[in-house]
Amino acid sequence: MTLNRRTFLAGAGSLTLLGSPLISARASQLKKRNLVVVMLRGGMDGLTAVPPKDKLLQSARPDIIVKGTISLNSDFALHPKLETFYELWKANQAAIFHATNIPYVNRSHFEGQDLMESGGHTPYGESTGWLGRGMEAAELQGLSVSLPMPLLLRGGINPDNYFPTRMRLPDQALMQRVAATYPEGSSLNDAMQRVLHRPMSMMQRVDDRDALSLAGTAAEELAKEDGPRVAVFDLNGFDTHAAQGGEDGEHGEMLSKFDGIVRILRNRMGNEFNNTLVVSLTEFGRKLEQNGGYGTEHGYGTAVLMAGGLVKSAKVHADWPGLASRSLYDGQDLNATIDARSIYCAAMAACFDVDFRYIRKHAFWDETLSDVTESLFRV
């Protein structure tokens, strides 16, 4: 939003706060492609979202098996709450990468969520996120639809966030005077400059703050030619230790929220949805076996859901390890046969129009990640 020409001129006196002309130049030359990352906090269960057609799943989860699933192919089905996702699948605009995860096996939400956002190996070891670093390398800006700024976006160029309030702001002149007390170059000052240069549509008082109405605002901003190219959503509630349930259980409810975000983006972005990619991100999957409370425990491998016009074709990508106990991780979890960071690196390469290796170098320290860009995305 600060990359539009008008605000760029308005901020020309304080160039460092808004990004260099180079950034603006790159952003305006580039065909606009949008990347939307939806964080599914709590441990999204790939075996519930995209259940394999395997008797072993039935026997491990007698009480929480999802009924009425939608068949995707001979091996996999889809949770019935992922309705929009399935419509997109039929239009070749949705795909799944199964049996994958970030390289983290220790089952702690906090460590896992830190790593899914930082992209590193040591919990709390990084102060920036993979998306922030990728955007900085590609010289692009993003918007987070959440109240705090997620780690995922940190390290980028003045990332912005949006979450409507009912309160009114002081007038501009007073805010300018407040801004003058913030040290130049401090992140506080950066945040203040974002506030001062915010478009009016985002300054209005809004009462409804559920995920869907936020998705509407994000869709409008993303659809703009000079709007942000990256948006991040935060959905919390996938940690279903109890009452995970089948098709109408807690996990289904959460998947339905994810599906709602995809639906709003598709409906409101118009043609821009064709130049958009939505990917899911979670800290880990859940154990194969159900627990005593009709829920599941923290696990390892899970699925990544991908939707939007930049998806190459409707396909379940997987080097499927199977659910036999010898192929489970630690004897308990679906294994991850590919580092999920490969998918995110490819998503950035496709959306930011930069080489996979370039992004890998800047966002993931040149680690060994396989280039899956061409097989997953339209480039």
């Binding site: 906090r41 966030n161 992140s187």
Partner: protein
């Protein structure tokens, strides 16, 4: 002297208060005893609120859903009526009043800051309807009442409380070889432990992952914890006080972090108490808590030098909380000039209220509620304002509580909330407020701050001072 100390460890100095002569002894004198809550209105007991909660869940799940299963509209209307009867929209606001009244008026603001710290350390996440009914009393009755004893007692009380057991699903935990486990298997049902609570007890409440425990340790601790549950009853469902149930407990000895825990005496429940004692005496536990205290009160990246006196005090007194708190207050003073911290939204709000004498929280009279109509706007203001600022103390989303470092609280949108709140609350500052006096009492470079306010009307002064750099940092 460092005036920011009074904001670092408390909420600043109010218009009618004098600057204490000796900041450190002023602070240390506040942590030996639990001050009474100052709220003059109703303070409902945890027992009563658990009963209200039980009515809410029982009526909803067992009565209304059944009665109106074919008519969604009727169901909604009945549920809204129930909401009013049990005070579902009321009690979180009342709890915030009780909390903020204590912070502003108990005469021991340093204790109140520490209370907030420990409530956040033993975070009860926004789950089911806990913020609406039970988290407030958990803070008042479980955390607050154990802050002047030993750390072990605090951990034990929190771990075995209804709130923590329910929040971390320990009632779902069934030892595979327990009586219940065997019955369930005979009926073809699954019987396993739920590792959640055991994991958080290690990771978040005591030793932290730095202690290097393994998945085996977590499972062994889950076995030891199995049986600590809230009994289920027909009319109150899960809303019954925690009782150790030997039928769910995994029998036998279990090894956690290299030590085998055996049953002492007749009841296997002693095993958990023994583990907690050892976890609390573990070097990583002291290190972890010292780090968290320094990070909350001093700076985002505390040094070993800051942490050491706190660890020493812990060692010297085997975990006596007032001694630990006093060591912290010394360290905070020693670093008061050198270190600054970005203040989280709730503490910032309370500082703002303290300094301006704004009418906050709502009065007991304003909070008088009839359980018949929707709470009025003023009665709903506490939860609304805190949510707008981005920190609803009864609603952390994760069991590790609210974060304590600047980047987490620093985003354009969160800044907007501070700007807007400064405007709203500034309008309600005491009419005779002397900003010169406020600034001279609370800021270390008053002339610089005053020149920033120069020429502004008093309503503008609030909007200029409270979101300013000097106020956001302490």
């Amino acid at each position: 002297m460092s005036k920011s100390y009074f904001r670092k460890v408390a909420f600043g100095i109010g218009p009618d208060e004098k600057l204490p002569n000796n900041a450190v002894s002023w602070a240390k004198n506040q942590v030996d005893a639990v001050p009474d809550l100052t709220w003059q209105g109703e303070i409902p007991s945890g027992k009563d609120l658990l009963t209200r909660y039980s009515k809410w869940v029982y009526q909803d799940r067992k009565v209304l859903r059944e009665k109106h299963k074919k008519d969604r509209k009727a169901y909604r209307a009945a549920k809204d009526q129930l909401r009013l009867e049990v005070g579902e929209r009321y009690f979180e606001n009342l709890e915030l009043c009780i909390r903020h009244d204590a912070a502003l008026n108990s005469g021991a603001p340093v204790f109140e800051r520490l209370w907030m710290f420990w409530c956040n350390h033993f975070a009860i996440t926004d789950k089911d309807f806990m913020p609406e009914f039970t988290t407030g009393p958990f803070h008042r009755e479980t955390i607050r009442q154990h802050m002047c004893g030993n750390f072990t007692e605090l951990v034990t009380a929190a771990t075995t409380s209804w709130s923590m057991i329910h929040n971390l699903d320990n009632s779902e935990s069934i030892g595979p070889n327990s009586k219940r486990g065997r019955w369930r298997r005979q009926n073809g049902e699954v019987a396993t432990v739920n590792e959640n609570h055991a994991r958080e007890l290690l990771e978040l409440h005591t030793v932290s992952p730095a202690a290097g425990y393994t998945q085996k340790d977590v499972i062994a601790l889950s076995y030891i914890m199995a049986g600590w549950e809230h009994p289920h009853s027909k009319k109150r469902l899960e809303c019954n006080p925690v009782k150790f149930n030997p039928d769910s407990h995994e029998p036998g000895n279990h090894k956690v972090m290299g030590k085998t825990y055996k049953q002492r005496g007749l009841s296997p429940k002693s095993k958990l108490l023994d583990v907690i004692k050892d976890l609390c005496a573990h070097p990583n536990c002291k290190q972890f808590i010292a780090f968290k205290l320094c990070r909350h009160f001093i700076c985002d990246e505390p040094t070993e030098t800051m942490m050491q006196p706190i660890i020493d005090a812990w060692d010297a007194t085997s975990g006596d909380l007032p001694s630990i708190h006093k060591a912290l207050l010394d360290v905070a003073w020693a670093n008061s000039d050198a270190e600054q911290k970005f203040q989280n939204p709730e503490i910032w709000l309370l500082q703002l209220v303290k300094m301006t004498g704004a009418p906050w929280p709502p009065t007991p009279k304003e909070m008088t509620y009839d359980f018949k109509s929707k709470p009025n706007k003023r009665q709903r203001q506490p939860s609304r304002l805190l949510r707008d600022l981005g920190l609803s103390p009864y609603r952390p989303t994760q069991p590790n509580g609210f974060p304590d470092t600047a980047p987490e609280w620093l985003s354009p949108e969160l800044l907007i909330r501070r700007l807007a709140a400064s405007r709203e609350i500034g309008f309600r500052a005491r009419f005779d407020l002397n900003y010169d006096d406020v600034v001279r009492k609370n800021f270390d470079a008053p002339d610089e701050v005053l020149s920033h306010l120069h020429g502004a009307s008093s309503q503008q002064k609030a909007q200029l001072l409270f979101p300013s750099y000097w106020m956001l940092m302490a």
